[in-house]
């Protein structure tokens, strides 16, 4: 444990404290932090009034919301659809986890090629079917970025939902069938509530990861056009490395951390509530046997 603790403290916890400290300073990367001026909450206040920062906060929230919603619906839907005894299921799952293992940078470049207005595969196919091409990386940039993320991460939810489905007590489902429940009713009243605890943890993991996304967007749109896809992570890295305003970037990170902690705490409390309900349901199922 000791080596792990030392490394985590040196490379995670100490830097975090250092970041918070730096966010109160006028921090230029060429100086050591001791030489910089203390500015109190100025960085935070300036950011709060900055429309560009608010815009990127808004883009981040929009991106995270749509990505998680679409992926949860698709992933769980697929799992419910494919939850049958099927030959070649393991091959299928292997094919589905391939997108997750590929570097985000490569995913970005793959989709950048496919979205290309004239050369790109998607527009070429659209034209062949008789539609006019879509301006993917222009007006629809945010949508394009969301599609790319959905392609990469829906399988994650699919696999976890499938694992949850297959570990459900079969007695509960059979009992529901005996009572004459339709497929739809079984899914809605038995399967989904029992899966809920796993689904919520999955949702939480995806939500956290949605705030980490950066490379795909960087390669696909470079944040543009305008600020339409400049998520917070991208803005932080720009501010730090291109504009070299470490204090401002640190304050942005502070806001991002605050946002993440609030969301996680809310989800965590909700998880506890749902878990209790699922346990009650499981107990009911066990008693009816």
């Amino acid at each position: 444990m000791a080596p792990a603790a030392v490394i985590i403290v040196i490379t995670l916890l100490y830097p975090l404290g250092y970041m918070v400290y730096g966010s109160f300073r006028d921090w230029d990367p060429s100086q050591t932090i001791g030489e910089t001026d203390w500015v109190g909450l100025r960085n935070y206040v300036v950011l709060y009034g900055d429309p560009a920062f608010r815009e990127s906060l808004w883009v981040t929230l929009k991106f995270a919301f749509w990505v998680v919603t679409i992926e949860m619906l698709l992933g769980v839907g697929l799992a419910l659809l494919l939850d049958r005894k099927l030959r070649g299921m393991s091959v299928l799952r292997t094919l589905f986890i391939l997108p997750m293992m590929i570097a985000p940078v490569v995913v970005g470049l793959m989709w950048r090629y496919m979205y290309h207005p004239t050369v790109g595969t998607i527009n070429r196919w659209l034209k062949e079917v008789g539609f006019s091409g879509v301006d993917w990386l222009g007006q629809n940039a945010l949508l394009s970025v969301i599609i790319a993320d959905v392609w990469q991460w829906t399988p994650f939810i699919f696999i976890l939902a499938l694992a949850a489905l297959q570990s459900l007590p079969s007695s509960a489902i059979e009992a529901a069938r005996m009572d004459g429940a339709t497929n739809w009713q079984t899914i809605w009243h038995i399967k989904l509530p029992l899966m809920m605890p796993v689904l919520i943890v999955t949702c939480l993991l995806r939500l956290i990861d949605a705030f980490k996304v950066l490379e795909v967007i960087l390669v696909l749109t470079e944040g543009g056009p305008g600020l339409s896809t400049e998520i917070l992570a991208l803005r932080i890295s720009r501010t730090a490395t291109e504009f070299r305003e470490l204090g401002t970037a640190a304050a942005m990170s502070g806001y991002l951390m605050l946002l993440l902690m609030t969301l996680t705490a809310a989800m965590f409390i909700y998880t506890k509530l749902v878990e209790r309900r699922a346990q009650r349901l499981a107990r009911l199922v066990a008693e009816t046997e």
């Binding site: 956290i208 950066l214 470079e222």
Partner: protein, 310 residues
């Protein structure tokens, strides 16, 4: 039974469409990496073209056009970004595993002060976006964690390795490796914990009765039993280190940059050489694809251990 039989054609159509959608883009990139840019851009035929290895050659070789004897000679980019990527991801994965499995074992089996705090911290740290880590690590590695060039240790290092200014972590392999270990440790500990819990205590006690010391118990009894967990953890740690871009780009210099940086640098140029970029991307994608095909079961177990038992 009958109703289900009738569903089958549509069901299989959905299945085929899904596989096509998830693997299609990868196949497209694979095919395009063997095309010349002319073929990619003309776009008249998807499959009718002369396959060429030229893109891979450009991606992998240093061509020195001004020296005639080098014209047809492929000097592998030794010390180039592929080698950097390999060194950084292999070393960081190995170290993460060694440290992580010991930490996980300690967290599961031993009672000590601050155990719960450590357990919660590992979970909380998973939340941290690399972008948040970027600012402080950038500052620390460039300025604060430096050894003064005039101090004894600093002089010793500079005499051995060369260099002019203070000795800093930025721009070195170890600087990047250290960050990746820290990023991966919490996740690895988390996965391994759920595997170690399943190792029966009696087995360890029996080994101890036979006179095995604590290290022997750990290495000869526990480790072989959690091999699938180690495989899963190794693949996840390798995947992150091999694919990561942001921190690598901020912390590396010309000599230590990794393949993702190479790709992004080529992307933002005005005239994109699609063929070469796709070949580079393919080379970057191959190790994770091979791992996935070889160990998909372990990967899925690792993923479910993360969520279902979390």
């Amino acid at each position: 039974m009958h109703a289900q039989d009738r569903q089958h054609p549509a069901f299989y159509a959905v299945l085929v469409a899904l596989v096509f959608m998830s693997v299609g883009p990868i196949c497209l990139m694979f095919i395009n990496s063997f095309k010349l840019d002319v073929d990619i851009l003309s776009g008249t035929s998807g499959l009718l073209f002369m396959p060429t290895l030229q893109n891979y050659e450009t991606a992998l070789c240093d061509v020195l056009p001004y020296e005639p004897e080098h014209l047809d000679y492929c000097a592998l980019k030794i010390g180039g970004s592929f080698v950097n990527s390999l060194i950084i991801s292999i070393v960081s994965t190995a170290l993460t595993l060694v440290i992580g499995c010991m930490a996980a074992y300690a967290l599961v089996r031993f009672q000590f002060m601050g155990r719960d705090v450590a357990s919660v911290t590992t979970l909380a740290v998973r939340m941290l976006p690399p972008a948040v880590l970027l600012v402080p690590v950038f500052g620390l590695w460039n300025n604060e964690f430096c050894i003064d060039k005039n101090s004894f240790v600093g002089e010793l290092i500079r005499d051995t390795f060369g260099g002019r200014g203070d000795v800093c972590l930025a721009g070195t392999h170890s600087g990047i490796i250290l960050v990746y270990i820290a990023m991966n440790l919490p996740f690895v500990i988390w996965i391994l914990q759920s595997f170690i819990v399943q190792v029966p205590r009696q087995l360890e006690e029996a080994a101890r009765m036979d006179g095995a010391g604590p290290f022997q118990v750990f290495f000869l009894v526990v480790l072989p039993l959690i091999r699938p967990g180690l495989a899963a953890a190794a693949i996840f740690a390798f995947r992150i280190a091999w694919n990561e871009y942001l921190l690598a780009s901020a912390l590396s210099d010309r000599d230590t940059k990794t393949v993702p940086i190479l790709i992004v640098n080529n992307m933002s140029e005005f005239n994109i050489e699609w063929g070469v970029i796709m070949a580079t991307g393919m080379l970057l994608a191959i190790p994770p694809i091979i791992f996935t095909l070889l160990a998909s079961r372990q990967i899925i177990t690792g993923m479910t251990a993360g969520a279902v038992k979390g």
